[in-house]
Symmetry: D2
């Protein structure tokens, strides 16, 4: 017989991303729709351990669908990595009568949820929230589409300066170990080269390519570098190498940094967040647990946490070829 | 034996949409990559009839990937609907040595290309460029994603006023006969109701729903209305009906209009345009003709023009349910 | 001897405008800085009559500096136009111990404050919040600069379509009886003609000017029309007139509407709001009353309410000449 | 007797800024309006030396009013710092029949123009184009208002993350030796502290202030640091100092970099550029030379180059006090 869910907790964990608030809103309202009580858990697993909960109803999440960040705050929790910490968290949830939770975050957050589920047989469901799109089991994580737009808009601005001064810019973008952001914004912003962890171009070929680009009549160049790229130790070392080996360009560096995580979510991310929240809550209601909600071919899908955590999110190699053709 | 393509023409036709320039750029550069000459055809089929062509190389399309509109201009052509017009167009293409063309536009443009292909056995390929997403054979048309973002940003602004004054706003958005834009921006902007051609809510149920919404504690409301919706004769008549039948709200109307077609394309649309241009040109090179390039499950795909034109682009009914839950 | 101010109320009244929240924040924090209690008054004078007050401290206004609209809501109050209504409002203020208030709004709101001050000798101070910039005694009202940017961005988008299709667009913008917005966005968006209430161009000269513009090689045209302009009865009638008298253009109309009032305030408006809030509260503290805070030559300034209300905000006629030269 | 101006050159020099294209457009169209020929000079003084000129008419500057960067390109010229270089430049101008020029740039560019004028008695006029607002004789330089908006929007995004994680962010903004940008975006973005060259806060007082801020209930903090600030050797050293002396916050650094120079100009900058271009050309026509066009109290004004170059642009100290009050 199914245990009936009466109170669901919702938390955001790990780095924040645009769309997290829209997902919180969706979880809260789907609970309200099904007459389930909903509690917000502050500061991720840290707040779970502290029992830092707040009851939320449909009106509590008014006006947040378009806000970046997370109203529930986020944090990384050392405590939750210990058995004692998780036991305390469990006790807090029990005390509050919460009998399932939805965690919005990345693979670290899902690993925590999975362990917690194994230890206490507690129903959990995950929603992938990270701009890096580095999670297996979903073609899009929450915030990824927004980050792509944020970054191309910034590169558009930098190109104004680059093309006014015939400069070469190395622009470092986020993405952790994968090149999703770099590859897409590279194509989208018309970069001459894109350096991603999945492909080792090599410094010599980079210089060669930039030279060819200059020879073909281009007066300025943008090179997008994924933060996880291994070609140089850092984007500043890249600059130094090119400075030493090329005289054709004046070289500049821009590390975009944290602005990439903020801002109002795109329409796509708002809709995705709304859909994922519904799917997460209704999956818990029907007795499912230990899954991450994902989107595949525009359909909501569930992936077991262990696969989501171990699997690898692959970049679209077609885009590398498109980029090569476009930068002729 | 395959006829070898040596000169490809490219034109934009019908209403403009963000991403058309990025697609032109992609067609031109893919031609350059394969050592094929490329000609821009101005003002759609009208310019084809007039022989208004310009040779384009990789540098001709510099700095346009992020520009709205179309540098090749667009127009609707009466002449091309006549046999004489198309014959003249064919003569012009022959005279210029153009042996295939890529048309970027909507279903009307594809119908024209299909007829032209049948009459002259002339290789043609289509790229779907319209914000309405009303074309069969592709989950996304060029400009659709950008328009969604443009519209939610505008509704966010209107909501500032709506919620400051406890008002009800009817906001009419584009989309021709289909509700794609309305449905997605409705969910994305947190609208209380979404009126689309695919679903007839009825005026009574609309008023009832708005009353329930007010009773549940909402102080302001946004109703998104697709331009193709049949519920009222116009959004202004909707306002009048609600004014007469509800006293709970002060009602306002906003018709968003042409701004929805403009603006810098989103990253998604720029990447999609780049991929579609490559696919269109390389399909022509390999001897294919009379197809529209589309994207399905994130993979480039070809759909015969007659299917693209006759088929129907369907909305995602799951979103209607999500919208109902979200507006609790 | 000066009566010492211990509790200040703050309200927003009339149409909302970007920067109102930043001004509320400034009033609240300046009160906190001077150890004065601050109360938010909801829904303008309507909430004053209802005693709908909330105590606010420095943290109550966290995170609102960049939000459009007004967290205190706004409304137009019929009650406050009656002696009884104002008496009730006075009683409510007394009951709550509020001994001065700052009203953020337009000339109607200031008239109300002035009358109230005369009747009850109650200290009041005004901050001009309206996008129309139609208030005497300040070169800029709160929200005006933001609205200018909102509108030029929208016209930029419409121009993408206009220039892709060789169209003529009539774009109606806000501004009540004055042409500030129309004149500035007209110059800023590169409009071919600007129709404002302060200058009667006449329909014949408009058509003549558009013809000259076409003849000079322009393929598309934007005409910005102030909502207060008297040239035609409406922008739609303008379109009809041009349709009948010119064949050179395809004509379209866009009425921008309420989106012009919303959105995150510009940096200028945020800074202006912050300065005005400080000035308003510190003026009350030093015993001043019945003034509107304004900015003149980048210096904070006070204008008596009766002058602010009766005076006329004049447009910069130099801009008309600049516009004529630019549209050559 | 006045020498009649028949051909005017226009160039952009030094770092680019939003509004430069709008100023070029204005110079070109004002020339057309007065039947004066106009030549664009590419790459600043470098292109003047090379004779890299292009004739421009009213249509040459179509569609650039809203574009960042400069279509005429910019460069710093070593050659123009030598007598020989300037002599060559003079010969080139003479050869092309150019008898006056307008230079759009910063103080370095004006110094060059002044020296050139002294040596060759050649009519020159300057338009201040820089985001730094560090020029005497104008309350606003071209691009400054745009940069303020660009930066507050970015800080808004970073604050999403900062407040979701209870972090302290040091954000370095441009501005060369002056604190205009830092001071205004600091107030506009609601920063807790603003570090500018004009005021030495001292590291101890910074830490003290941040501690007070935390104690007052703030969970996150933004400190805006002008690039010219002297408090630490760099923003990264600031971070290290705070890391060592405070345990209350997790500290992050963001250096905004070149994006601050790009983007579509604000309405204010477009209007200002249009006015300045008219003033510059018409001043040359009436025989004036060796002045910079500026805006003071919303009126066009001329300042002799030597004063513009030697004078100091002062920040508004009132804003420092406003910032202190706002960050309570």
């Amino acid at each position: 017989m199914l245990h009936t869910i009466k109170k669901i907790g919702v938390l955001t964990s790990g780095g924040d991303s645009p769309g997290m608030n829209a997902a919180i809103r969706s979880v809260v309202r789907t609970c309200a729709f099904h007459d389930i009580k909903c509690y917000g858990i502050y500061r991720g697993y840290e707040g779970m351990i502290d029992g830092d909960f707040i009851e939320m109803d449909a009106r509590s999440v008014k006006g947040i669908i378009n806000k970046g960040g997370t109203i529930l705050k986020s944090a990384r929790s050392k405590g939750f990595r210990t058995k004692e910490g998780r036991q305390t968290a469990y006790n807090q949830l029990r005390k509050a009568g919460i009998d399932a939770f939805v965690v919005i975050g990345g693979d670290g957050s899902f690993t925590g949820a999975m362990v917690f589920n194994q230890e206490f047989n507690f129903p959990v469901m995950g929603i992938p929230g990270t701009i890096d799109n580095d999670i297996y089991g979903t073609t899009h994580t929450l915030g990824y589409d927004t980050a792509l737009n944020t970054v191309v808009e910034v590169i558009d601005k930098i190109r104004d300066t680059a093309s006014s001064h015939n400069r070469l810019f190395f622009i470092e973008v986020m993405g952790r170990d994968v090149g999703h952001i770099a590859l897409n914004v590279g194509v989208g912003a018309g970069a001459e080269e894109i350096l991603i962890p999945e492909e080792d171009l090599g410094l010599d070929r980079l210089v060669e390519s930039l030279r060819r680009s200059k020879a073909s009549g281009k007066s300025s160049s943008i090179v997008v570098v994924a933060e996880g790229d291994k070609i140089g130790k850092s984007v500043f070392e890249l600059k130094d190498y090119v400075d030493e080996n090329m005289t054709e360009y004046e070289v500049r560096v821009s590390v975009l940094g944290h602005m990439q995580r903020g801002g109002a979510p795109s329409c796509f991310d708002r809709v995705l967040a709304s859909r994922m929240g519904v799917k997460a809550v209704e999956s818990l209601i029907t007795g499912k647990s230990n899954y991450m909600v994902g989107i595949k071919n525009d359909v909501m899908d569930l992936t077991p946490f262990d696969q989501a955590v171990k699997g690898k999110s692959k970049i679209n190699m077609e885009l590398l070829r498109v980029s090569d053709i476009m930068s002729i």
